[in-house]
């Protein structure tokens, strides 16, 4: 059954439709890849769903109930959590304290005391492979470490659905392979994922299904192989001429 249902979600910035009439179902336990060229509305769609931006139109149902118009913190408490494409670390806190905030707040039923939050945060850091940096100040982390901390904070919230906004950007090939493994292990914990990514090889490996946005509209949706071989998708990414050659 669909755990999240987007219905004709639309976001206008002035006259520009950043997201236009996008509908999709997210199935419980799956990894949905969300791709599209720069400016196609991927991040805006996640911002609208998680309450960071108001809707222009449409609706999103979580377990059948509308979450349109809820403030971001209520959506977080319902069990929808996210990472930011441009990471937002709490710079003056340690890595552990950053993750503790996720454990202390986050989904209902999370830790309410510092002691148990510390324990949970430690476990999550272990899980994402950042335990050795637990007591480092967040501002001292390099880019891959920051991405991991961002992921750890979101995981510590004990989400039902996790939106990952380009957690692999800026990583090298070995780090990308690790990240793919990590995302699969997150799914094995029973968390449903929406993964926004530019790295094609990674998205192909990690996704159960892929949805493509183009100029704010849904272009197509389906299994990775069929979506990535779809001439429309190829043309959206690489230009029409390349697509024609590929099919000639």
């Amino acid at each position: 059954m669909a755990i999240l249902q987007a219905r004709r979600v639309t976001k206008l910035f002035g006259g520009l439709a950043a997201v236009s009439l996008v509908s999709f179902d997210l199935r419980e336990g799956e990894i949905l890849g969300l791709i599209g060229p720069n400016g196609s509305g991927k991040t805006t769609l996640v911002n609208v769903i998680t309450g960071t931006l108001p809707y222009s139109d449409g609706d999103v149902l979580f377990r059948g109930g509308s979450i349109r118009g809820l403030p971001p913190y209520e959506i977080g408490r319902l069990g929808l959590s996210r990472t930011f494409q441009i990471v937002k670390p709490f710079r003056n806190l340690t890595v552990l304290q950053n993750v503790m905030v996720g454990a202390l707040f986050g989904a209902r039923g999370g830790a309410r005391e510092l002691g148990s939050a510390r324990r949970q945060a430690g476990e999550v850091l272990e899980f994402v492979g950042l335990a050795h940096r637990a007591h480092a100040p967040a501002e001292g982390l390099n880019v891959p470490e920051r991405k991991r901390m961002e992921l750890a904070r979101a995981l510590a919230m004990r989400p039902t659905i996790l939106f990952l906004d380009e957690v692999m950007a800026g990583l090298n090939r070995a780090e990308i392979d690790e990240a793919v493994e990590l995302i699969k292990r997150i799914r094995d914990r029973g968390i449903t994922l929406v993964v926004i990514e530019h790295v094609m090889k990674a998205i192909r490996n990690v996704s159960d299904r892929i949805m493509v946005l183009f100029h704010g509209e849904k272009l197509t949706e389906g299994l990775p192989e069929e979506v990535l071989n779809n001439p429309q998708v190829v043309s959206a990414y690489l230009g029409r001429r390349y697509a024609e050659q590929a099919h000639a």
């Binding site: 905030v101 996720g102 919230m157």
Partner: protein, 317 residues
């Protein structure tokens, strides 16, 4: 709780007890100095809740001080409340005012918030100027209480309470929420923190303690007028104290109030007219060489050239 934490609490208790015994030892002048010091420390510590932990630089906290002073004053002289009721009422009214004003203006950030709070304080001064029952521009005269030690112990007790609240913030879920808001409000919100509520509660707490300090001040000084208790310079002073000591730390603002009160008193008696100049100079040097305040200096192992050099480098001054 760990042993270290108990030791700190006991240490704090010992300091409070020692200070409690102080009036028996020191001169009457010193007692007056300490009352004033406690008051500034309360204001700095209460500002720390919103300015230090939550990261919202309020330039209007003197409004809460003034509202507390006037609420207590009016209830005492016009309504005939006993001080024991008038004082908590002063704290409560300041708290409610902070919550009511805070809810809308805490949507603003950075400079805009600072200007809005500054405007709030100035507005309150004008309001009080134009109200009949507050004595308008002529001010309000309190009955004289002939036991100055009452004020000493009241200020000390309020200071202990507001310091405990700051300590609690450093140890609690609520405090983590405030710090998260300070560090990145958007991230805090998506992580499940009810940011409007948290900010408003922090502002209200800040207002409550400033209001209590104002209430004690009114009765202690026996005469208040709008210019004296809504003075912008009071806000500036208490922010300087908090920054000097270290914002967002439990004891920093207290330490800042202690050192700067002593320095300013010394300068005033030794240098008279040049006092302000030196006071300003000290503040400039502190901002340049130790922008994280006294508490960071102590934590990093005391005065050293290396510490100062590192700060200069780190903050690219």
């Amino acid at each position: 709780m760990s042993i270290k934490r108990w030791a700190r609490l006991l240490g704090g208790l010992a300091v409070v007890l020692f200070l409690g015994a102080a009036p028996g030892i020191v001169s009457a002048f010193m007692v007056q100095f300490l009352i004033n010091l406690f008051m500034m420390a309360i204001l700095a510590e209460s500002w720390n809740i919103i300015g230090g932990f939550t990261g919202y630089a309020s330039f209007g906290n003197v409004a809460f001080f003034g509202i507390g002073a006037y609420t207590t004053g009016v209830l005492l002289t016009r309504v005939g409340f006993p001080f024991a009721l008038a004082l908590p009422a002063g704290g409560a009214v300041a708290m409610l005012f902070a919550a009511a004003v805070g809810f809308p203006i805490l949507r603003l950030k950075g400079h805009y918030f600072a200007i809005a709070t500054l405007g709030t304080a100035e507005m309150m001064r004008e309001v009080v100027y134009n109200l009949e029952f507050t004595g308008a521009g002529t001010g309000l005269v309190m009955p004289i209480l002939r036991t100055p030690l009452t004020f000493f112990y009241l200020m000390l007790a309020i200071l202990a309470a507001v310091t405990l609240v700051n300590w609690w913030l450093s140890q609690s879920r609520f405090g983590y929420g405030l710090v998260a808001i300070r560090e990145d409000e958007d991230a805090a919100a998506v992580m499940g923190i009810n940011t409007p509520l948290y900010k408003t509660v922090a502002f209200a707490l800040s207002g409550a303690f400033a209001g209590l300090a104002g209430g004690v001040y009114a009765y202690w000084i026996t005469f208040i007028d709008p210019d004296a208790v809504f003075k912008v310079i009071i806000t500036v002073q208490l922010i300087i104290m908090a920054v000097f000591g270290g914002t967002g730390t439990v004891l920093g603002p207290l330490l800042g109030a202690l050192v700067l009160s002593a320095v300013s008193e010394l300068l005033a008696t030794q240098l008279a007219t040049l006092a302000e100049l030196f006071y300003g100079l000290i503040i400039i040097l502190v901002v340049l060489f130790m922008p994280k305040g006294l508490s960071d200096l102590i934590r990093q192992g005391g005065l050293s050239l290396r510490y100062f050099a590192r700060n200069l480098r780190e903050y690219r001054i």
